[in-house]
């Protein structure tokens, strides 16, 4: 741990796993830390132990070894009712109980504060309503959980943790099952909560590009090693590439995302090249294994393209026999090129 750092959570040489007949260690020698007000993304391949790590920090299962400190005190030194006021947890389970209203569900987050009957006092009702409006769901307080969309339900899951009013929030794969815009929205919401309410939020995800854009810190879990740092740190020291590299994938350091490189076995000549505007043409042609050649270094297909207009595309495809075909879509272009190359 670096001196002077205001850590809310730190893991020191922690081993996680399961106590079975022979206890199975999933990951060991974990040293990680989290500061107040940080949004932290936990990434790593399937089965590497992301959920186990989150569940261990949330005290849903015991650590096998090492020390986990929450505000400089060991997790086990907090009583469970007290700990419920310090850390809240959202699991991957979809809560979709038909007769449960949004209000009643979010109000469950007040459990650590209510009396033995769970009676909601005025402050509990206010906290519940505030939590629901903070995630932008104020208009659906009286709807049932079955009546709302998956994206809205995930917001409600976040609202429950806000009602629980904990400085630390853990979410296990909050973007699973969501479509792309909803994924961005939910992570953006977490980002704002970390900023505006100084909450420390730790979430696991498979959405690398979103995590890289929004997270303050990445915890990257690989088979036997572990990286911690700002997204940019991990990109530039090649950690990402090491973890996720495969036969098909190449990491684009500039864009911070993975892509699948294509083998280009043939080429066409572009009559009027203009590197700025050719982006989408290059992409489309690469999918059928064709490059744009300006210096004739590759096996040429003998085809020539003359671009007339970029958006929407309009061009002329000239065959070796001088026959010219007018083209009005990338789809049409790729179909013709494939037919020509295959024959």
């Amino acid at each position: 741990m670096e001196p002077g750092e205001n850590n809310i959570l730190s893991l020191q040489d922690v081993a996680i796993g399961y106590w079975d007949r022979q206890h199975k260690t999933v990951f060991e020698h974990i040293n990680l830390s989290a500061s107040e007000g940080e949004l932290i993304a936990l990434v790593g391949k399937n089965g590497v132990g992301k959920s186990t790590l989150l569940r261990t920090i949330a005290r849903l299962q015991p650590e096998l070894q090492g020390t986990i400190l929450y505000r400089d005190k060991e997790l086990s030194s907090y009583s469970r009712p007290l700990f419920a006021r310090l850390l809240s947890f959202v699991s991957t389970e979809i809560v979709n109980i038909p007769n449960l209203s949004v209000f009643d569900f979010v109000a469950l987050g007040r459990s650590p504060y209510t009396n033995g009957f769970g009676r909601l006092e005025k402050r509990d009702k206010q906290a519940t309503l505030r939590a629901i409006s903070q995630v932008g769901m104020g208009h659906m307080v009286h709807n049932n959980l079955t009546e709302i969309s998956d994206g809205e339900r995930q917001r409600i899951m976040v609202a429950r943790t806000l009602a629980q009013d904990t400085p630390f929030i853990i979410l296990d794969e909050p973007t699973a099952f969501l479509d792309l815009p909803n994924r961005y929205e939910i992570i953006h919401l977490l980002h704002e909560l970390a900023r505006e309410q100084n909450k420390t939020i730790l979430f696991s995800t498979h959405d690398l590009s979103i995590a890289l854009q929004e997270a303050d810190k990445i915890w990257l879990l690989n088979k036997d090693q572990l990286h911690e740092g700002a997204p940019e740190d991990l990109i530039l020291n090649n950690s990402f590439e090491q973890v996720f590299r495969s036969k098909l994938l190449t990491f684009d350091r500039r864009r911070g995302d993975f892509f699948m490189p294509k083998t280009l076995s043939s080429s066409v000549t572009l009559k009027n090249p203009n590197s700025l505007d050719d982006y989408w043409l290059r992409k489309a042609l690469s999918r059928v294994g064709v490059a744009i050649d300006t210096d004739n270094s590759r096996v040429t297909s003998g085809l020539t393209i003359e671009l007339l207009q970029h958006e929407p595309i309009q061009c002329k495809l000239k065959l070796p026999n001088e026959q010219e075909i007018e083209i009005r879509s990338f789809y049409q272009l790729n179909r013709l090129i494939r037919q020509f190359i295959d024959s």
Binding site: R59, I97, L100, D104, L108, S111, G118, H142, N143
Partner: protein, 353 residues
């Protein structure tokens, strides 16, 4: 666009529903006192209940010695089964769970079977009958307590709630298997005595026994009412319950104990009565349109009492001298309700899809 919330009841609608249910309970209770092999006028019943002299001494005896204990039993049993069914559906997050999933009734049956068919091969059956049905009650109670102890012992070791459900069913099946062996080797008379017990009966409970039944059921219901918060949190899953500061072990022990106390006691006095425990919580959810146990639990108590009173009235075959087994009536009322609910909602509106 503002989505219209159609499924939630307003406070006013909910108040009306409570009033209707309480009125319904009073009406069903009185009707159960009026109706039977002979019809006693309401005015007379009220006079008897108020302790005044009725026109007809026979009526007084019928009401005070037979129908009143039976109606009180129906109320207690209906409430107990509805509440224990609701608790098991919530704890196991399964819409078809009921009071007996833990194997309680199988345990009770085992106790009674051992008594009726096992022990009575040594003593004479007549001796047993002379001791009254206290013995049967005691045997049933011991049997269900045995199962409870097994379940609690296992629940402290097993983390996964579904494993517990399966173990409960296994314990129940094991007990039933032993019962079958006893049945196979017992005489026709004893077999019939046992079969009659399994058909359930509200009428066998004396005023004296009510002195035990009512307080015990009362304690069980009180335990349930104290668990409302636990049930609400348990409903969304044990992980959430734990992360909101609940102690899972204590909660399980509390809920299993109150369920066994309720279901075990009821089975001991009245035999295994089916379907009330499964059906009532669903009717409660449908009427109150909520999953909040603060509403659902008292609502299920009222509904359970009403439905069992109605079943009892029907089982009397009003105007005749014969009585049908209460178990058949609750099944015949319960099954169409479940089928209707499934068809109407395409699935039982309860837990995760």
């Amino acid at each position: 666009m503002r989505v219209k919330a159609t499924l939630i009841l307003t406070t006013q609608q909910r108040t009306i529903l409570w009033i209707l249910l309480i009125v319904g309970l009073v009406v069903a209770f009185l009707a159960d006192l009026l109706i039977g092999s002979s019809l006693i006028p309401l005015k007379e019943v009220l006079r008897i209940l108020a302790g005044q002299e009725p026109e007809n001494d026979v009526w007084q005896a019928i009401v005070l010695q037979f129908r009143l204990p039976k109606a009180l039993t129906a109320v207690a049993v209906g409430m107990a089964l509805a509440v224990s069914g609701l608790q098991m559906q919530t704890v196991f997050r399964n819409p078809l769970a009921g009071p007996y999933v833990l194997g309680i009734s199988a345990g009770a049956s085992l106790g009674v079977a051992i008594l009726v068919m096992g022990v009575s091969s040594f003593l004479s059956f007549q001796t047993l009958m002379n001791l009254g049905n206290w013995l049967i009650v005691g045997a049933a109670w011991l049997g269900s307590a045995l199962i409870l102890v097994l379940i609690l012992a296992v629940s402290l070791r097993v983390r996964d709630i579904m494993t517990l459900l399966i173990l409960g069913i296994m314990f129940g099946s094991g007990a039933s298997a032993i019962v079958s062996i006893l049945q196979y080797f017992s005489s026709e008379t004893l077999l019939k005595a046992f079969i009659v017990w399994t058909m359930g009966s509200l009428g066998g409970v004396s005023m004296q026994q009510l002195g035990i039944l009512l307080p015990v059921v009362g304690v069980g219901l009180l335990m349930s009412l104290l668990s409302v918060k636990l049930l609400n949190v348990f409903m969304v899953g044990e992980n959430y319950a734990r992360s909101m500061g609940m102690n899972i072990r204590t909660t399980r022990i509390l809920l299993f104990t109150s369920t066994s106390l309720l279901a075990g006691t009821v089975t001991a006095f009245c035999g295994p009565i089916g379907f009330i425990g499964i059906v009532i919580p669903h009717i409660g959810r449908m009427l109150f349109r909520t999953a909040n146990h603060m509403v659902l639990l008292p609502g299920s108590m009222l509904l359970g009492a009403i439905l069992l009173l109605i079943s009892d009235i029907i089982s009397q075959l009003p105007g005749t001298d014969s009585t049908l087994p209460i178990n058949s009536i609750t099944a015949l009322i319960g099954i169409p309700i479940i089928i209707w609910l499934i068809i109407k909602n395409r699935r039982l509106n309860l837990m995760n899809s």
